[in-house]
């Protein structure tokens, strides 16, 4: 196990280096040069040739790209990702602030999704092909097709406009969390119901469940003691994968409810071409994503020792 983790960590180093290089180079995809973008933001008009050259010299943009990149990376490793061009705030502080906001929204909504999906999915699998099962399958199939931000708008229309009992945006009071959490939680619960149902169904037809039944155990005991335990493995895996999506996954909901999360913050920076923020956020979120994936892999391997990550045929990649 330790050998496996060590191997994975070693192997992360080249991936991280290339990732940081891409994060830095992203800006050069733009049709205008960094100097033009930054000066335009500063003076709100097209910069002159002279201004551009002065700027390049001052900020080192006249040096070769590799030199620029290493100096950026060096600063980044010391926690200095530069300052936002729009409001001059520190990129790392912004990231941490919006990371916390995103985490609040995401963890609460995933918990809600689990609370909805687990009972419905398990009961659905238990009474497969019953009226309840058919209804819950139709419900989740329709639900999966609803865009999360649209669900949010419908909720706002009902609870903020028609009934006027909940605020439609804001971050300060706990009440503000309710609608975005409902929207995100509901929309994640739909696919989770399907997953829970399939996982439980698959386990229910294994031989050891038949053995338990032939021993004369009650259905409830079979479910709680034997079936659910194994069915949890794919569910935990997918929940883990969902959690890594909280970087940017909720961008539309966050922007809809003006929630100051990562997605919302990043989308604003991207549309105003705020270079240091784009570079810093891409780098930090990629690092987070890589590490989170590693942790999920390790947890899955712990839960189910049969999982073999050397098999790359895509079977275990969810």
């Amino acid at each position: 196990m330790i050998k496996y983790i060590f191997r994975r960590l070693i192997y992360l180093i080249p991936v991280m280096i290339i990732t940081s290089f891409i994060a830095y180079m992203l800006v050069y995809l733009s049709p205008s040069s960094p100097a033009q973008i930054i000066l335009k933001a500063r003076y709100t008009s097209e910069p002159t040739q002279e201004q551009v050259e002065d700027f390049n010299e001052e900020y080192g943009f006249d040096k070769p790209i590799l030199v620029q990149y290493t100096s950026w990376l060096n600063k980044a490793m010391h926690g200095d990702l530069g300052k936002s061009l729009t409001d001059g705030s520190d990129v790392l502080e912004d990231f941490i602030y919006s990371f916390i906001a995103s985490a609040k929204l995401y963890f609460s909504s995933q918990l809600l999704a689990l609370l909805i999906a687990l009972p419905i999915g398990v009961y659905s699998a238990f009474k497969a092909n019953s009226l309840f099962d058919r209804f819950s399958r139709a419900y989740s199939l329709v639900g999966i097709s609803l865009p999360d931000f649209w669900l949010g708008m419908v909720l706002v229309y009902i609870f903020s406009i028609m009934l006027n009992i909940l605020p439609s945006f804001g971050y300060t009071s706990p009440k503000n969390l309710i609608l975005p959490m409902l929207a995100l939680g509901l929309s994640s619960s739909f696919s989770l119901i399907r997953l829970v149902r399939t996982s439980v169904l698959e386990v229910l037809h294994l031989n050891y469940i038949r053995t338990a039944r032939s021993k004369g155990l009650g259905e409830g005991q079979i479910m709680m003691k034997h079936a659910l335990r194994n069915a949890m493995i794919p569910i935990v895996t997918v929940l883990g994968i969902h959690l890594t999506h909280f970087i940017g996954g909720a961008v539309a909901i966050e922007s809809m409810f003006a929630w100051p999360g990562l997605g919302n913050f990043f989308a604003k920076a991207a549309s105003s071409q705020d270079i240091p923020v784009i570079q810093g956020f891409v780098l930090l979120s990629a690092i987070f994503f890589i590490i989170a994936n590693l942790i999920i892999d390790i947890i899955c391997k712990q839960l189910d020792p049969r999982i073999d990550f050397h098999n790359e045929s895509g079977k275990n990649n969810g």
């Binding site: 080249p14 991936v15 290339i18 990732t19 891409i22 992203l26 800006v27 995809l29 733009s30 049709p31 497969a128 092909n129 199939l141 329709v142 999966i144 097709s145 609803l146 865009p147 999360d148 931000f149 649209w150 708008m153 419908v154 706002v156 229309y157 406009i161 399939t198 169904l201 698959e202 037809h205 890594t244 999506h245 970087i247 940017g248 996954g249 961008v251 539309a252 922007s255 809809m256 990562l262 997605g263 990043f266 989308a267 920076a269 991207a270 549309s271 071409q273 784009i278 956020f281 891409v282 979120s285 990629a286 994503f289 890589i290 790359e312 045929s313 895509g314 990649n317």
Partner: protein
């Protein structure tokens, strides 16, 4: 399950009719501004009402569905092609080439897709063309990894050995035996991605990084309607229902096609 397949096919057929024959049915020009009828509700003249510039919502929705669906199809087809080339080259050549290509794919998959897409779309500037490029750029890697896995698995199957043992040359084996066994999982995967890609496009257009107004696009239209939620709820309700209709059609068809193509999975799920 057979019923689902029929339902799915009918839904997709109607969708294709909206996308390809829609401009013929649309009663108004989707760009025609008429401030005298702005923000009107449902009426005989405008069966789905009008928007904040007095444009006919029904006509705009028809064009908007076309925009969203066409971008999804282009993104999926292009990423599938690129992924197929990368994945099969890696699997067939093996060795150092494989190692090199896999590392590239790893790096592409190391980024959270949405953040990466938003970054590229933002840096390039928001437009329909740039959002298509950004989505292709961020999604081809998963196709490549999948194709590589399929080719590697197929290469080990006994019937490939049998074909070689019978004297078939390398090219014949690849074209006649290995590639066909990749096409089915690849097309299932791609089909599944259409609905997902569609959700990405409407989401990105909704936050203002995708298709730009006045071009009709479902997500962008919902974004425009945000300021008129109280007075004109039809402006966000109809586009949302249409998105759900499109995604639902692809989902149900994907579900039933998988059962149809691979009865083994069906027996596992339905039992």
């Amino acid at each position: 399950m057979g019923n689902n397949l029929k339902t799915g096919l009918v839904l997709i057929f109607v969708l294709a009719a909206i996308v390809f024959a829609g401009p013929l049915i649309a009663p108004y020009d989707p760009f025609e501004v008429d401030m005298s009828v702005r923000l009107q509700g449902i009426s005989l003249a405008h069966i789905m009402g009008t928007d904040q510039l007095g444009r006919d919502l029904f006509s705009r929705l028809i064009y908007a569905t076309g925009t969203s669906v066409k971008i999804s199809l282009v993104v999926v087809a292009a990423s599938m092609t690129i992924g197929f080339i990368f994945g099969s080259v890696a699997a067939f050549l093996g060795g150092a080439v494989d190692e090199f290509l896999m590392r590239i794919i790893d790096v592409f998959m190391a980024f959270p897709t949405k953040i990466f897409t938003i970054a590229i779309a933002g840096v390039l500037g928001a437009s329909a063309f740039n959002i298509t490029l950004a989505l292709i750029f961020t999604s081809w890697a998963s196709y490549a990894r999948m194709v590589r896995g399929c080719v590697l698995t197929a290469k080990q199957l006994p019937f490939i050995d049998a074909s070689v043992a019978l004297g078939a040359n390398r090219r014949y084996t690849i074209v006649k035996h290995v590639l066909p066994s990749v096409f089915q999982p690849l097309s299932t995967f791609a089909f599944q991605r259409i609905a997902h890609t569609m959700m990405m496009i409407v989401g990105l257009s909704f936050i203002g990084l995708g298709v730009q107004p006045p071009t009709p696009e479902l997500g962008a239209m919902i974004n425009e309607s945000k300021n008129f939620m109280t007075t004109a709820p039809h402006l966000f309700v109809f586009p949302g229902l249409l998105i759900s209709y499109v995604v639902f059609s692809f989902n149900i068809l994907d579900d039933s096609l998988r059962d149809y193509w691979d009865p083994r999975i069906k027996s596992e799920l339905v039992l």
